[in-house]
Assembly symmetry: C2
Homo-oligomer: 390 residues x 2
Amino acid sequence: MNNFAFYNPTKIIFGKGQIKQLDKQIPKNAKVLITYGGGSVIKNGVMDAVKKELAKSDRAVFEFGGIEPNPKFETLMKAVLTVRGNNIDFLLAVGGGSVMDGTKFIAVASVSDEYFGKEEELLYLGFAGAQTEKILPLGTVATLPATGSEMNNGAVVTKGTDKLPFFHKEAYPQFSILDPEYTFSLPATQVANGVIDSFVHTVEQYVTYPAEGRFQDRTAEGILQTLVEIGKKTVDNPNDYDARANLVWCSTMALNGLIGSGVPQDWSVHMIGHELTALHGIDHAKTLAIVLPAMWKERKTQKKEKLIQYGERVFGIKTGTDDERVDSAIAKTEEFFHSLGVGTKLSDYGVGEKDIEPILENLKKHKMTALSEHGDVDLNVSEQVLRKAL
Amino acid sequence: MNNFAFYNPTKIIFGKGQIKQLDKQIPKNAKVLITYGGGSVIKNGVMDAVKKELAKSDRAVFEFGGIEPNPKFETLMKAVLTVRGNNIDFLLAVGGGSVMDGTKFIAVASVSDEYFGKEEELLYLGFAGAQTEKILPLGTVATLPATGSEMNNGAVVTKGTDKLPFFHKEAYPQFSILDPEYTFSLPATQVANGVIDSFVHTVEQYVTYPAEGRFQDRTAEGILQTLVEIGKKTVDNPNDYDARANLVWCSTMALNGLIGSGVPQDWSVHMIGHELTALHGIDHAKTLAIVLPAMWKERKTQKKEKLIQYGERVFGIKTGTDDERVDSAIAKTEEFFHSLGVGTKLSDYGVGEKDIEPILENLKKHKMTALSEHGDVDLNVSEQVLRKAL
């Protein structure tokens, strides 16, 4: 097992009707900015429930809507001006991953003296993250199980065709209220995306090479087994509380730092996927469904032992030669994605051979030329992966 | 899945040589009290390493040794006086569960105005815990994988023949440094105890009744499978880093709130076990090894579905009638404890039929008359359990 530090101070408040805990989580006299997206939280009644709780104490409540999927720097900067103009001292993200991600950026950018007037530079600090001293406190009422943003300190923000990772050591939500019923009104395609996003977050921290992280492996496998068990069920039966609750909790646990502590991590699938979203507007999760099987086909040798373990423990593949077991594990993964109604080829999304070069150029521009747990996924490997995904 | 809140702000710093992170974790000008036990940390060099790190900044460092296994109220009150007399503002527990548990009590008792002069009352607040406002910050350098105290807000403190649970909502260590190498010098019997303690912590939150907590079940099973895989190995080969690292991490994860969130919990084995320690001085873990199999034999009906699931997923028991599978699961558990050199009968520890009545009286005195996930383990059931353990 590798050395690690694990720290995650977010308080999770999980279950039916837990919005009633909201009033206790935010200072009574706070000036709160509610951030949200395209308005689905207004239609499904979540916003009303949030406002009703906030009104139980003497708070000033402001709103900022319109944070789009793959939240844009320009949009978030408008929210930063709202924060500054109204002396907001608490941010409450009500929505999915993009709203939560965007709110983390707002929390850092709006109170940083160092980056005042050049907030854009905060987006190019890479995985080391912003080191600014101050950050506004934030909480979330999460409405989409997918990104794990409700219990981590990371975000992804888009500027032009740059889809950029953003971290700050203090950007953990103070609390996240996760009511599975708040996700019942999601369209099936977004639920399928959430299942795949959680699945791929997990395998990026697990299908690498053996490192004697037995708890980490078993926990990752537990998330994957659960997603396989309840994935199609929760897409097809949105009002099945238990299936959805299991998706919500697995999606949070898939990316809160726990399963990746002390073991190698990959993330090359995500990095290539980000360019597909930036250049072709394909949903984040669908880019993962495209790139993951192709990556594994290209990287069978490097990931052989863990792919065999994954096949056996997640899909029960116990017979055949090593190569057959690896192929079976990849095929079962593709079948699982297909069962959720999600295509796993670039051609399913209108992307062809001619589009590969611009993707590689973007990877180069973003310095994504030494990806994977071994740092050996260079542009040549990425090209082979994309060709296998055609 | 049941509603739940999960919150755990302890920073875990895990691995070889991580003591080097200590200086960064404690304020530079702090007045630190190092708490420790019988002195093994002096013999094995951990104390020297701790002091060397603390001396890197201008801190006043005090020491309080002699916290015994099953830490006594009277001992801890001496430490409370040391804290008050020297205006200590940071507590650093260096040792195992008893030292960490005792230090949590010291952290609360030494700064409570409400309980000043009547600190003993803090011990009789039950699972609701102390609600005092102030608590001294504490950190740990943990040297024994067993209790999970390094990443939770609970403790057990003994007064006379009362072995009492103690909680405070803020009693999480700010940080815990877990270096598996610091546990290499432990005697085999303590390592075996640690394996069993971690194992029983896990099953008390898992072998109850089905509640659609799939992540929780799989994670609990992952801990149990790992302990079965590495338990004997790490007892027999104390210097095997990876085996020990897996024990250390599993033992922390077994009792940090994660696997018990949103699912039923039992704890009746612990409560009966505590009386065996209080009255007969049997090691905590050994009391669990005695009571657990007897409890399961007595409660086969109530725990049938989970015992079958446990047998299948942890020990691979997939054939036989339901009753046979339940019996097999219990037998495999006993075999596992025996493989660690630990007896599972009261008679192994010189306790007989005549000792049952005083144990039941103690349970009654401590209001432990409605235990288990169903609240139906009364004194009659406890008596049957103890008879089955003779």
